[in-house]
């Protein structure tokens, strides 16, 4: 009898911490999303049914934030993946300084979002930034650009920063995947007369499919949830030009003091992500 209880006892502390600090708050957010809760009036929390959701879905800012989130996730994960994949393919070749390159390319991945925001705000500064200076000197820019204060360039700037942070993740995971593909497969393909492109399509891509899918899913969820980099670099501005869905939820609850509305937005974001995960699991099961 004691034996049977042992694994539960071992898991107990981890489960208790998770229940208290993750599951309970998550449940409470769901509960709050059906109530009116203003931070400065915590005593009165009337039940309002689906009102918060009706408000969220009827608010054009929600749809703008959702569209922007999609753009943010697709553009930044797409670029990270592409650059990371190229890096992994290059690092898979043999050359003298490969070990150093492999070690140093991960540096951006180790940095906190606050520093990444700081670095790129500094690089892109209107007066003192390296990019404007070099751009003008090399003739790429006619005049310095105020990257952070125009809607289009501000969004491009935060995407650039998150691509810089995230491409090493893909480089490292995809390189590990490449090294897991047996060399015999390439030899067999060569004997069958396959050229480099054909080997890439018929050996490399199928061999990497699992790693690619997992890495894309992990990174997509991370990028879709992340709000600290944008919060630090632009605070969602100028206007709402860089406001994604999690940031909208955070600012509604925190700056607006409106926990009811903010909670409904947070729950909607979670449901959307859950949909992505379920779709991924359903697709990968039969294979």
């Amino acid at each position: 009898m004691r034996e049977a209880a042992t694994p539960y006892a071992l898991l107990g502390p981890a489960l208790a911490a998770t229940a208290l600090l993750v599951l309970f708050p998550a449940a409470q957010t769901v509960w709050t999303s059906f109530h009116q809760l203003i931070l400065f009036r915590p005593k009165s929390q009337p039940f309002v049914g689906l009102d918060n959701y009706v408000w969220a879905l009827g608010d054009p800012v929600f749809w703008q934030s959702l569209t922007r989130s999609l753009l943010w996730v697709v553009a930044s994960v797409g670029l990270q993946f592409t650059l990371g994949f190229i890096t992994a393919l290059l690092l898979h070749r043999r050359f003298a300084w490969r070990g150093i390159a492999r070690a140093l390319v991960v540096v951006p991945w180790a940095l906190p979002s606050v520093i990444i925001g700081l670095i790129w705000t500094w690089m892109l500064d209107f007066n003192l930034g390296l990019i404007n200076t070099l751009g003008v000197r090399l003739g790429l820019l006619d005049a310095p650009v105020a990257f952070m204060s125009q809607p289009g360039t501000a969004l491009a700037a935060v995407i650039l920063a998150v691509v810089w942070q995230g491409f090493p993740f893909f480089a490292v995971t995809l390189l590990a995947g490449l090294q897991g593909i047996p060399a015999e497969l390439y030899e067999a393909a060569s004997i069958d007369g396959a050229g480099p492109l054909s080997r890439f399509v018929h050996v490399t891509l199928p061999g990497l499919a699992g790693v690619i899918a997992t890495a894309l899913l992990l990174r997509m969820i991370w990028v879709a949830n992340s709000l600290d980099l944008i919060l630090v670099m632009t605070g969602g501005g100028p206007g709402t030009a860089t406001q994604t869905l999690p940031l909208h939820a955070f600012l509604t609850a925190w700056s607006g003091g409106d926990f009811g509305h903010g909670s409904a937005l947070a729950v909607l974001l979670s449901l959307l992500l859950l949909g992505v995960v379920v779709a991924y699991v359903a697709r990968s099961k039969p294979a």
């Binding site: 993750v22 998550a26 140093l104």
Partner: protein, 273 residues
């Protein structure tokens, strides 16, 4: 033809490496330049001299030394608590087959995907009700719990790689379960435990939103302090760059040391499956 391809590949790799490192190096260089250098217009690419004046002023005149201490305490606490929670859990998942095992593993994976914004508001209210806002405990608990799924996942694969016959031999010799975990598993899984500890440390050291919401005044970590500096001293780039380079260094160094194991653990499951 082949040589030409090699040259092209190495050039491309050099360009990517430059993209990865230049912004980081530019921050480091900026922190070491005299203030007049940073505000010169047009911008000077080459420094007129190198100085530690920014770092010294930062540590003397601002609260940054205390912030570094707070970050160190929180991150060390998160590593300790995280390992204390994750190692027994990983041992249970690795060594026992029990009802609910699959469901619990999936629970930990799903929890990993919860948006922070879903948790942070009630966590703030909970900690406030418990009187724990602005304490080390709140931040340590938050960081350790939020990184728990990944820590358990990695540690489980490391414990899996240790033969169970060693546990059994120790049990026959009369060792209790805690003794087995501490004296048999821990030493053998040490490289993995060090990798997980490094991950926990960096994750806590780098974290911003929990630290902002659950701390902020009495306990202010470097990421929160840095963000406040940006708001307060928008023009003092020298101080900001000094702070940035001081915060970035430990994480970068630890990451370079542990990355091979972390990446291996991260992809291990996906590559095998």
């Amino acid at each position: 033809m082949k040589r030409l391809g090699n040259i092209a590949a190495q050039t491309a790799m050099a360009a990517i490496l430059a993209f990865a490192l230049l912004p980081w190096l530019w921050m480091l260089l900026s922190s070491l330049r005299p203030d007049a250098d940073l505000t010169a217009n047009p911008v000077r690419l080459m420094p007129t001299g190198l100085t530690l004046a920014n770092h010294i002023e930062l540590l003397r005149r601002t609260s940054f030394a205390e912030n570094l201490r707070d970050s160190l305490i929180v991150a060390t606490g998160a590593v300790t608590l995280g390992l204390a929670l994750a190692l027994p859990a990983a041992y249970a998942f690795s060594r026992y087959r029990f009802p609910g095992r699959g469901a619990l593993r999936i629970t930990f994976l799903v929890v990993n995907m919860f948006p922070v914004v879903l948790l942070i508001l009630p966590l703030f209210l909970l900690m406030r009700r418990l009187g724990l806002i602005d304490t080390y405990f709140a931040l340590i608990g938050g960081h350790a719990t939020f990184t728990l799924p990944f820590a358990i996942w990695l540690l489980t694969s490391y414990v899996d790689s240790i033969p169970a016959s060693l546990d059994e031999a120790a049990a026959i010799d009369g060792a209790t379960l805690p003794q087995i975990v501490i004296h048999v598993i821990l030493p053998l899984a040490l490289p993995g435990v060090v990798a997980v500890a490094t991950y926990l440390f960096i994750a806590s050291w780098n974290e911003y939103l929990f630290a902002l919401m659950l701390g902020g005044r009495d306990v202010r970590t470097v990421t929160v302090a840095l963000q406040l500096f940006i708001g307060e001293n928008a023009i003092q780039w020298g101080l900001l760059m000094a702070a940035g380079s001081l915060v970035a260094l430990p994480a970068t160094m630890l990451f370079l040391l542990a990355q091979r194991r972390l990446a291996g653990g991260l992809t291990g499951g996906a590559v095998k499956g």
